[in-house]
């Protein structure tokens, strides 16, 4: 906790002081923890529920692409009937890994979950520290591979958004169509604003003038990258809301509104 003015009078050496900050520095990590924890709980519940993830023509993003024969809506038949547990487990490790190794989320969970440090100029919650120099945190260095895999998943989500205009009675647009399209858009913005993407598309160069095409892409991605945190949060919340919308439709708790 912060030190009030009375506590300051008792300090004889600064080395052992947890923090001299007087503001509510703990609010941000607490909120971050609450939102991330809620998402993890909800996503885990939905992944293992293995039901209510498809209602024509909407497929929940938590189950897309659905790669098993037993899926309510098969995106791509790869695993036949051999896969016995929830098909969500086949794909959720990809967006999960992408977000876990994301440079923004690292800040978020190192601060709020691992307290390393909980806030700036607040003492680290651990007595020793080796950062990302050893296993398992050394794995953070393969973030770009998760980016590659996540891009493939993203293509399926765009396909789902396109499929969401194919109603049983013909073409149309419902609220669900808009929900899934916005979901694919936000996830695309999150992926394109990724630091690894920015590096791979041009950041690795030392001379931009010799590579004008890559320089143009890098400049655009840099503008997106400045809002990476925003896209990270909005896309996270919206993907959960998209799944919730499909679930509510599938359980019959609400009905989709056809716009045209």
């Amino acid at each position: 906790m912060s030190n009030g003015s009375a506590a300051l009078q008792d300090i004889k050496t600064l080395k052992n002081v947890k923090t001299l900050r007087k503001d509510a520095w703990w609010v941000e990590p607490l909120l971050t923890f609450a939102v991330l924890f809620s998402f993890v709980v909800y996503a885990t519940f939905r992944a293992f529920e293995d039901n209510y993830y498809y209602v024509a023509p909407y497929l929940s993003p938590f189950y897309s692409p659905c790669l098993v024969d037993t899926c309510a809506h098969v995106s791509w038949r790869i695993f036949g009937k051999m896969w016995l547990i929830t098909p969500a487990m086949l794909i959720l490790w990809i967006p999960g890994g992408f977000r876990m190794t994301c440079y923004y989320y690292r800040k978020a969970y190192y601060r709020s979950w691992w307290l390393s440090p909980p806030a700036c100029a607040v003492r680290d919650g651990h007595t020793t520290y080796t950062g990302e120099t050893r296993f398992p945190l050394l794995i953070q260095n393969i973030h770009r591979y998760f980016f590659y895999f996540a891009t493939v998943i993203l293509l399926f989500l765009w396909w789902d958004a396109f499929e969401a205009i194919h109603f049983p009675d013909g073409y149309g647009v419902g609220v669900g169509t808009l929900v899934l399209t916005l979901n694919a858009t936000l996830l695309s913005l999150y992926s394109l604003s990724c630091h690894s993407c920015r590096h791979l598309c041009g950041g690795h160069l030392d001379s931009f003038s010799k590579n004008p095409g890559q320089y143009g892409v890098w400049k655009t991605l840099t503008k997106l990258n400045e809002r990476h945190m925003l896209f990270a949060w909005v896309s996270l919340i919206w993907v959960a809301l998209s799944d919730l919308y499909v679930r509510l439709l599938a359980t019959g708790m609400i009905h989709d509104i056809r716009i045209f």
Binding site: Q9, C120, G131, I142
Partner: protein, 249 residues
Amino acid sequence: MAAQEFVMQVWRGDSSGGAFKEYRIPASEGMVVLDVIHAIQAKHATDLAVRWNCKAGKCGSCSAEINGKPKLMCMTRMNSLDTSQPISVAPMKTFPIIRDLVTDVSFNFEMAKRVPSFKPRPKEADGTYRMQQEDIDRVQEFHKCIECFLCQNVCHVIRDHEENKKHFAGPRLFVRYAALEMHPLDTNDRRELLKERMGLGFCNITKCCTEVCPEHIHITDNAIIPLKERVVDEFYDPIARMIRKITGK
């Protein structure tokens, strides 16, 4: 209503210890924290040690922790603080205290000595170097650094783990490494050094260095993360390595 006087709690002491001492200074419009510290020096404590120079946020001398937040004293206006409460002013925690608000920041200069110097490629046929504005735009952001060392001070890798000072360059030096590594003329490769002996992997991207930078340099996004990605290119990306071998680039 503006405060009639400022109640300041200023750290007084040296490496053996000390205490916060309270001073009351009449409030004047437009004062910054450094003005108040100077007023304390003039009226109450002529032996108060404080390092300062330009009073314009460009020399990087007057770094301190104001209400626990690392800031430049000359750039922190008193009306930006809650003056209904006492304002604490302490020296930077990461560095050894010499006296009062003055710390020994030589760690940073020792680390700077270990940065491999700029090594330009051979000159062109007409005896000159050529580069375009877009080649150096990115690097120029890093040249704004005023070496206030607030980023080094706030970095928990060394702030809370003294033992890491042996093998961690810190954000200010990573900015310098980035400026050299991304320079279009430079030919030195510092990636192995960054990974093995400068502790780039210790940084866990919590961005406090960026938050406290008075020059608003995007230290984490534009310097440290691109350096990490360059280290990944060389040491953690087998596909990229294979492509480089095949293409010879």
